[in-house]
């Protein structure tokens, strides 16, 4: 093969995520001859380089930063080799192995190497027999780390224009970059995007072309929001301040994964120093965040040990948008934030998040359970309002698009105890935040029994009742129920356990940030009926795991049918489903256990394998009587009955 001499040594490097650092550690890529650009500061007007390039080097600080390169893929050159260095990545992230896709150029692959260096950084080298698009390779790499995006924020299709616009669609490969003055280029005989998001400064020339689908936002460049874009009251472009003005929180990165329940010591501080924000513990910086406020998973890991982070909102910040984004990000990750937003800040953070922050008493951080409940409430508010999906749902609506319908959940509830039907239906009926359809499988029970009929009549939502032959085994009963259902997701619930009203919506949130095929929660709370005591067991939550509580399984229909449903056996159907999903290559995620409490009755009435002693052998906390944590929203407990252990 003849090699053209002028491209033999052309090496182009791009770095991203090093705003706070004086000098990006470009020597990590091992090519002294490369010319480097900051990918956060490149314009979207034209490809990175006009000349042919032999090798592309990407130096990303974290997987979060890699995800911001993905939307810019079309600007990257065609190359014969690519080197990616990710300087740090959390332990919970998958190794950066490309998840190969439909790209035909993968046929030219000659060599692929993934190494973890002793300093913890990842180095990926790929060489091809011919020219391949660097953007395509990076896309598969990003997908390899986060898992294939299911039900992500991909509608509408967006075109991004202007410096730093990739903050708005991290990890989205379906983006067409457009010149800052427009128009949106065509992509295979169709407009490149249904909506255009353009980042602007005071000097930005006006948009050429159709402005009806245009959204303008202040520019996030060089790591900071331009000061002129940060005047209180407006977004610098005349847009009144609302949550929609700040770039979204990338929930695949900044999320509750790895939440640490035990944290002590002083509350962390927040300040601006040396051209970056710093989160401090006793005046020493724990982590540094660029002024754009874009958090990475490493920042979250570093603040996990702090009981909370106090942010003085009215501290005369140069770029309040960056501060707002940090606050939203920390909240989305479940880091307890202590802040007192006034009216202006409430408009930026959203009323729900602001009310939560204002209503919190920092004294509660000392109690691990109250701290975790606050964290869960923060996650909900921040992820819904400020996550990429939530932000684009709102932007699409404002742009005249009908956003996709939220996914529906079918609850599979199987019972053979008529006296529990009323209770069980009340637990499903109080679920909120997701469209729920209930499939009540009566196992050897008639729907005409008065208790059953009354409970079904009183159920407020969509319900379908099926009667199943008592001779059928449990697995088959559940499969019958699944067959009768129509939701996008299937959730299994038990007839005698307690569920908090946000049980299903929290699982759906967990599914979104974890990208898992099956999610569930930990069985942490048990009410031991025979001794009228409630215990909280020790459990590791917010992790990818092999096991979740069987009565909290929420699985996508696709994954469920892919493994052939439940096995036709009388017991252990849950664990068998988990096994099958794992075997089929699916991922399982275990969310927090604050929405779920198991009723542990007398040993005679149930198929309990565990004797009651095991619950008392090692527990985190114990209460006399029936205790429900605040998130359960049950009106039984009085905190005075809590045991001081």
């Amino acid at each position: 093969m003849r090699v053209r001499s002028n491209m033999v040594d052309t090496v182009l490097g791009g770095h991203i995520g090093f705003e706070g650092c004086p000098e990006p550690p470009t020597d990590l890529c091992g090519r002294a001859d490369a010319s480097w650009v900051d990918l956060d500061a490149v314009p979207t007007d034209r490809p990175l380089t006009g000349t042919a390039v032999r090798r592309f080097l990407l130096l990303a600080r974290t997987p979060a930063d890699l995800r911001r390169v993905v939307p810019l893929g079309a600007l990257l050159p065609e190359v014969r080799g690519i080197t990616v260095v990710i300087t740090e990545s959390p332990a919970w992230r998958s190794a950066p192995v490309p998840a190969l896709d439909n790209g035909r150029y993968w046929g030219k692959l000659r060599n692929l190497q993934v190494c973890r260096e002793p300093d913890g950084s990842w180095r990926i080298e790929a060489d091809f027999a011919g020219q391949v698009p660097a953007g395509g390779v990076l896309r598969t790499l990003s997908r390899g780390m986060t898992g294939p995006s299911r039900g992500g924020p991909h509608a509408p299709v967006v075109s991004l224009a202007g410096v730093g616009s990739s903050h708005w669609r991290p990890g989205d490969p379906n983006v067409t970059p457009a010149p800052v003055t427009g128009p949106v280029p065509c992509r295979n005989n169709a407009p490149g995007g249904d909506l255009v998001l353009r980042t602007v400064t005071a000097e930005t020339p006006p948009w050429q072309g159709d402005g009806s689908r245009l959204i303008e936002r202040p520019e996030v460049s060089g790591g900071t929001v331009r000061p002129d874009a940060a005047q209180p009251g407006t977004a610098g472009t005349g847009v009144p301040f609302s949550p929609d003005v700040i770039p979204p929180v990338d929930e695949a990165v900044v999320c509750p994964i790895g939440f640490v329940a035990a944290a002590d010591g002083p509350v962390g501080g927040f300040r601006e120093a040396h051209g970056a924000y710093e989160i401090t513990r006793e005046d020493r910086a724990v982590t540094r965040i660029p002024l754009s406020g874009a958090l990475t998973e490493m920042d979250i890991i570093r603040v996990r040990g702090l009981p909370g982070v106090a942010v003085e909102l009215d501290g005369g910040w140069r770029a309040p948008v960056g501060v707002a984004r940090v606050v939203c990000g920390l909240a989305a990750a479940g880091v307890p934030v202590i802040a007192r937003p006034g009216p202006w800040w409430s408009r930026v953070l959203g009323t729900e998040l602001a009310a939560l922050l204002n209503g919190f008493d920092p004294e509660d951080l000392a109690d691990p359970l109250l701290r975790e409940s606050f964290s869960v409430r923060l996650r909900r508010a921040a992820l819904r309002t400020h996550g990429v999906a939530g932000r684009w749902r709102s932007l699409a609506e404002a742009g005249g698009f009908r956003p996709p319908d939220p996914p529906t959940v079918s609850v599979l509830l199987c019972t053979r105890r008529p006296d529990m039907v009323g209770f069980a239906l009340s637990q499903v009926g109080r679920q909120r935040g997701v469209p729920v359809e209930l499939i009540l499988a009566l196992h050897g029970l008639s729907a005409n029994r008065p208790e059953v009929a009354a409970a079904v009549a009183a159920y407020p939502g969509a319900i379908e009742v099926i009667e199943v032959d008592p001779r059928k085994v449990f697995g088959d009963v559940l499969n019958e129920a699944a067959r009768a259902s129509s939701g996008d997701y299937l959730a299994k619930m038990d007839d005698d356990d307690w569920y908090g009203p946000d049980h299903l919506s929290d699982l759906m949130l967990a599914r979104r940030y974890s990208n898992a095929d099956l999610v569930g929660c930990a069985a942490e709370f048990y009410h031991l009926e025979t001794i009228d005591t409630t215990v909280r067991r020790r459990a590791v939550t917010e992790v990818y795991a092999n096991h979740v509580a069987g009565s909290s399984i929420l699985v996508s229909r696709e994954a469920f049918t892919g493994v052939g449903g439940f096995r036709p056996i009388p017991r252990a159907v849950d664990t068998q489903l988990l096994e099958s999903v794992t075997a089929a290559g699916g991922r399982i995620y275990r969310a927090h256990g604050l929405n779920y409490m198991v009723r542990r009755g007398s040993i005679a009435g149930h198929t309990w394998k565990e004797p009651i002693n095991t619950f008392l052998r090692s527990y985190r906390q114990q209460w006399r009587g029936l205790y429900a944590n605040p998130l359960m929203e049950m009106d039984v407990p009085s905190p005075a009955r809590k045991a001081a252990l």
């Binding site: 031991l528 025979t530 001794i531 005591t533 007398s602 040993i603 005679a604 004797p611 009651i612 002693n613 095991t614 008392l616 052998r617 114990q622 006399r624 005075a640 009955r641 045991a643 001081a644 252990l645």
Partner: protein, 545 residues
């Protein structure tokens, strides 16, 4: 009156009014033992006459043990003052007991005859007694060098009425009682927990008369240490100790009395060691019994096999905590009748159990257990057939103390019925019994005044008797040391191996070997026994590897 439920000794939740801003209803009897105090008693009475507490609610009982007290002397005396003469007196405990016995007030307030009170001394203490019926209120005593004779009774009354009693002593601010250090440390006893009773001082203390009677009054057989012993029993009865610094009392002639108090320590020790298990450091003998044990273990023998009861009681008596008494509950009265041929006797097991422990001083037999273990601080109820490991009681007591628990329930077995053992703190039970509304579950009240918790019996060293037979209950302490030995042996082996691997060690070894060979050749032509032995050992080691 619905009484507030105070947790441990934390009386800080009580809404105590400011002096002068509340309405007194309860009457108080001030009891003063008087013995050779002609000079000071008039001063004490004068300061009582000047109290802010309403005089119609204030009674003074002077217990005269010297037969020399006259109330007709100069100086003011409270309206309702009487003298009780005690023939067999001496100073101290007997007089107090007698005085309290005749006192008619709702509250008994102890005072010494050589004190001068601040104007609100009685009132500040009495405001607490209007809030709850199980408080022991302690005043602050200051010791002044100035003695009687410097001021007259009338001067004292005038100073007290005008609220300037402290000025009688001029520059001398007085020395605080040494117990103040402990008050200081525990937030005026609020955080003292079960230690609160050690902050008791009998010089200026008050308590409800009912409470005084319910604990059986003072122990008059004690010449010294009766205050500490009384306070201990009050604590076991569920009392809360309130330290009120605003209730000030000035002691005339100070440090000498305090010195004397310290000297008396030696003479008090045996009495309180026998009677107050709370002072663990005094009970440092590994294997002794005391008048009041630390734990009363209760085993129900009725209807149980002799073997199961024997196993449990023997297990309890074999514990590292020897300071325990066992109460065996059963229908022992049935055994009074004539003895039948053993194999036909329906109460044969009962008889066997009775005989098994005839000579064991720590075992008592009772038809039914007392309502509480009072004054024993803990009761451990263990079903027959379950055997505690030697360290079980000790660990459980520590657990209960560390977590301020009043009740630890231990699940043993879950069958048709729950089998459980329980450790109760007498103070918590007594307070709960005092406070429970009719029909209210005692356990719920105990949870409010202390803490209750369920635990797994096995983890706390309670095993079914069969299991302990297969696997003798080895003292875990022995096990621990054995583990340590194994650990260090392993450690030594590893280090030795590491040493073998280091070149220096190997070289040194080779050099030494060479030298030895050279020497042995020089010394004797035959093979050196040492070297031969070493070679064999080395060879064996290689094979092992």
């Amino acid at each position: 009156m619905v009484q507030p439920r105070i947790r441990c000794n934390d009386y800080g939740t009580l809404p105590v009014p400011e002096p002068g801003e509340w309405l007194p209803r309860k009457s108080v009897s001030v009891v003063i033992p008087a013995y050779r105090c002609d000079e000071t008693l008039p001063l004490a009475l004068a300061s009582l006459a000047g109290q802010s507490y309403p005089s119609h609610l204030l009674e003074v009982v002077v217990v005269d043990t010297g037969g020399a007290v006259r109330l007709s002397g100069p100086g003011p005396v409270p309206e309702r003052t009487r003298v009780v003469r005690v023939q067999d007196g001496g100073e101290g405990v007997n007089a107090r007991q007698r005085g309290a016995a005749v006192a008619e007030g709702d509250v008994v307030h102890w005072l010494d005859a050589d004190v001068v009170l601040d104007r609100e001394h009685i009132e500040t203490q009495m405001r607490w007694h209007h809030l709850a019926g199980y408080l022991v209120v302690l005043g602050q005593v200051r010791f002044h060098e100035r003695r009687a004779g410097v001021f007259t009774a009338s001067e004292v009354e005038a100073a007290v009425v005008s609220g300037t009693a402290a000025k009688l002593f001029g520059e001398d601010e007085g020395v605080p009682h040494q117990v103040m250090e402990m008050w200081e440390r525990t937030g005026d006893l609020r955080q003292a927990g079960s230690d609160a009773f050690t902050g008791y001082v009998g010089t200026a203390a008050s308590l409800p008369a009912d409470l005084f009677r319910s604990v059986g009054g003072l122990d008059v057989s004690l010449p010294l240490g009766h205050d500490a012993e009384f306070a201990f029993r009050l604590a076991q009865a569920g009392a809360v100790f309130v330290a009120d610094r605003r209730s000030v009392c000035h002691h005339l002639g100070g440090s000498a009395a305090m010195r004397r108090r310290r000297e008396s320590r030696r003479h008090t020790m045996p009495y309180i060691t026998e009677r107050i298990p709370h002072y663990r450091s005094l009970r440092n003998h590994p294997n002794r019994q005391y008048l009041v044990p630390n734990v009363e273990a209760v085993v129900d023998a009725s209807g149980r096999s002799a073997e199961s009861v024997q196993a449990t009681v023997n297990g309890l008596l074999a514990g590292r905590m020897s300071d325990v008494s066992v109460t065996l509950v059963g229908p022992w009265g049935l055994l009074a009748g004539e003895q039948r041929f053993p194999l036909d006797d329906p109460s044969a097991d009962l008889r066997l159990i009775r005989e098994s422990f005839r000579g064991e001083a720590r075992v008592r037999f009772a038809e039914r257990p007392a309502e509480t273990a009072f004054p024993v601080p803990f009761r451990f109820t263990c079903p027959a057939g379950w055997v505690p490991r030697p360290d079980a009681l000790e660990r459980l007591l520590k657990f209960a103390d560390d977590n301020a628990l009043g009740l630890v329930s231990l699940v043993l077995e879950e069958g048709e019925e729950m089998v459980a053992a329980r450790l109760e703190r007498t103070a918590a039970v007594r307070r709960a019994l005092l406070l429970a509304a009719p029909g209210e579950e005692i356990g719920d009240v105990m949870h409010q005044v202390s803490g209750t918790v369920w635990e797994d019996g096995l983890s706390w060293g309670l095993r079914p008797m069969g299991a302990t037979d297969d696997e003798p209950a080895v003292d875990p302490e022995i096990e621990r040391w054995k583990r340590k030995v194994r650990y260090w042996r392993r450690q030594a082996r590893l280090l030795r191996r590491q040493l073998d691997r280091t070149p220096r060690g190997r070289i040194r070894g080779m050099v030494a070997e060479g030298l030895r060979l050279v020497r042995s050749r020089r010394q004797a032509p035959g093979p050196d026994p040492q070297t031969a032995d070493r070679a064999i050992r080395g060879g064996r080691r290689k094979i092992e590897r």
